[in-house]
């Protein structure tokens, strides 16, 4: 059994940022465990640019953004073990991992940072009819094939869902010589960022079919075509008679991301049904003492910059915990999702909060001329105006301790949107 002060599970942007900040806070006994053969996580396959505007004030590609953190980890000499898969975590922080090099290993950690990221929602969760033919990939898998392995998934492509990875892949496949027929979105609005819709679809004349979905998949060995139909925007049910057949050999799915919390559950970490990630307090500590969570395993972020920022906080707090400097979680207030708000993080805030914290959430729909409000108990403590809120972009909101003092007897904190739905 090896003893580690701070054990970080995952060597992607969250794990790297947590490691770097823990080291800078003073921690010296850190270890990163990574399942893949290199550090960097999904950023390695995101060769498009647009990362780092908040963190580095310049637009970087995924590999470039990851390298900045990898260089820091190397410079500080923070140990990392790649090709190593964690298979169990116990509530008293014993971690079991397997690797080809060392076989089965046990680690006893004083503090654990969960930074495992998320995975893509697969076809199986969609209940789309048709055979299990080849030619159907999640957008991220197709991205891995093209950008890391130099392989070409197909020539005539349809994309289901309008998440950012799907949009980015529409452009990537076009660049590689494929014909992208359309991007099909069930909702009446896209889940992707505006700039991705303009620069990945509009630029190349790829239609975005809102309020449409795939109702049938043809082909037994290889995908031969896909039937698309309009849906009723209210019930989301396909409208008979609106079917259209698209002949294609590839279907890419970009239908959502799910935090990968199997290990968290083993450790006894309480999972929030709203985010599918851990329930955390303002220190990003989970319901299990000394276990922290950050990045996409905590909640799915829109920008990697926010992942780095959040994870840096987890790194510092994990070190404080190891040093015995992290205040005991005594009385906390629950953060409640009000109108238009889903998955606000953190879910618990200490009554003794002394530093400002950031609350993050995703709007449920598209709201114009909106106000985001925080109520402490039933007293409105803060508001922030926004011209537009969309589910594709996270909202960040500062919460300062003075709000708590405005209503000391409050039993909960509500985050809500005040607007007309458009």
């Amino acid at each position: 059994m090896r003893n580690v002060d701070i054990l970080i599970i995952g060597g992607g942007p969250a794990g790297l940022a947590a490691a770097v900040s823990a080291y800078e806070a003073g921690a010296r006994n850190i270890l990163i465990l990574e399942r893949e053969e290199n550090l960097g996580g999904i950023l390695k396959q995101c060769i498009h640019n647009g990362f780092g505007l908040h963190t580095f004030k310049e637009e970087l590609t995924g590999p470039e953004y990851a390298q900045r953190y990898i260089d820091k980890v190397l410079e500080y000499g923070i140990p990392s073990q790649c090709d190593t898969m964690v298979i169990n975590i116990t509530p008293d922080k014993v971690v079991t991992a397997v690797s080809r090099g060392a076989g089965l290993e046990h680690f006893k950690a004083k503090s654990i940072i969960l930074a495992m990221g998320c995975r893509e929602r697969p076809r199986g969760s969609l209940a789309t009819p048709g055979w299990r033919c080849s030619g159907i990939y999640t957008a991220g898998t197709a991205q891995k094939f093209t950008n890391l392995k130099g392989l070409m998934p197909g020539r005539r492509v349809l994309i289901l869902g309008s998440g950012d990875i799907g949009l980015i892949m529409a452009r990537r496949m076009t660049f590689l010589g494929a014909k992208v027929l359309a991007c099909v979105e069930l909702m009446p609005f896209s889940a992707g960022l505006k700039r991705n819709i303009v620069q990945c679809l509009d630029d190349y004349g790829i239609p975005l079919l809102l309020s449409h979905t795939v109702v049938d998949i043809a082909g037994r060995e290889r995908l031969e075509g896909v039937t698309v139909a309009k849906v009723d925007p209210k019930t989301l049910k396909p409208i008979p008679g609106t079917e259209e057949y698209y002949e294609c050999d590839t279907l890419l799915l970009s239908v959502g991301l799910i935090p990968e919390n199997e290990l968290s559950t083993m450790a006894g970490v309480k999972i929030s049904p709203a985010t599918n990630g851990a329930e955390v307090n303002e220190n990003l500590q989970t319901s299990v003492d000394g276990i922290f969570s950050c990045g996409n395993v905590l909640h799915v972020h829109d920008l990697v910059d926010f992942v780095s920022e959040e994870s840096a906080k987890a790194g510092v707090n994990a070190y404080k915990y190891v040093q015995g400097q992290l205040a005991e979680d005594e009385e906390t207030l629950e953060v409640v999702n009000g109108f238009g708000v889903s998955g606000a993080v953190p879910q618990h805030i200490s009554k003794k909060l002394d530093e400002p914290i950031t609350i993050m959430f995703r709007p449920r729909g598209v709201y114009k001329d909106a106000k985001v409000c925080i109520d402490v108990g039933d007293v409105q403590a803060a508001e922030k105006k926004s011209r537009i809120l969309t589910p594709g972009e996270m909202v960040t909101l500062k919460f300062t301790p003075e709000y708590l003092r405005k209503n000391a007897n409050a039993d909960k904190i509500t985050v809500r949107v005040e607007a007309q739905q458009s």
């Binding site: 060769i47 640019n49 505006k194 630029d203």
Partner: protein
Amino acid sequence: MIKEITCIGCPMGCRITAEVDGDRILSIEGYTCNIGKKYAQEELTLPTRMVTALMKVYGTTQPLSVKTSRPIEKSKIFDCLKEISRHTVMRPIHIGEVLIKNVCGTPVDIIATKELE
């Protein structure tokens, strides 16, 4: 001629309508802030884009990710991609290394975005 542009300056995504006569902009309408106006003017006169792509590397099937050193004219994107695909490079390669100078006769270079030992 009437042209429609969606502004990407923020999530508002304002629909901007502009009337152009060749290179001359006659009118721009529909923007709600100056970011939109500036974006529309750029899009109408000389739209540019960053291009990211992959390059072949000798002795490996693993491709190298590359990007334009700065945004390149939108009309040259596919020529630029073609030129990148004609090149094969030799390891080691470091981030920022210039791999193609003045791609397609523009002042833009193609640079590496990945470390490859």
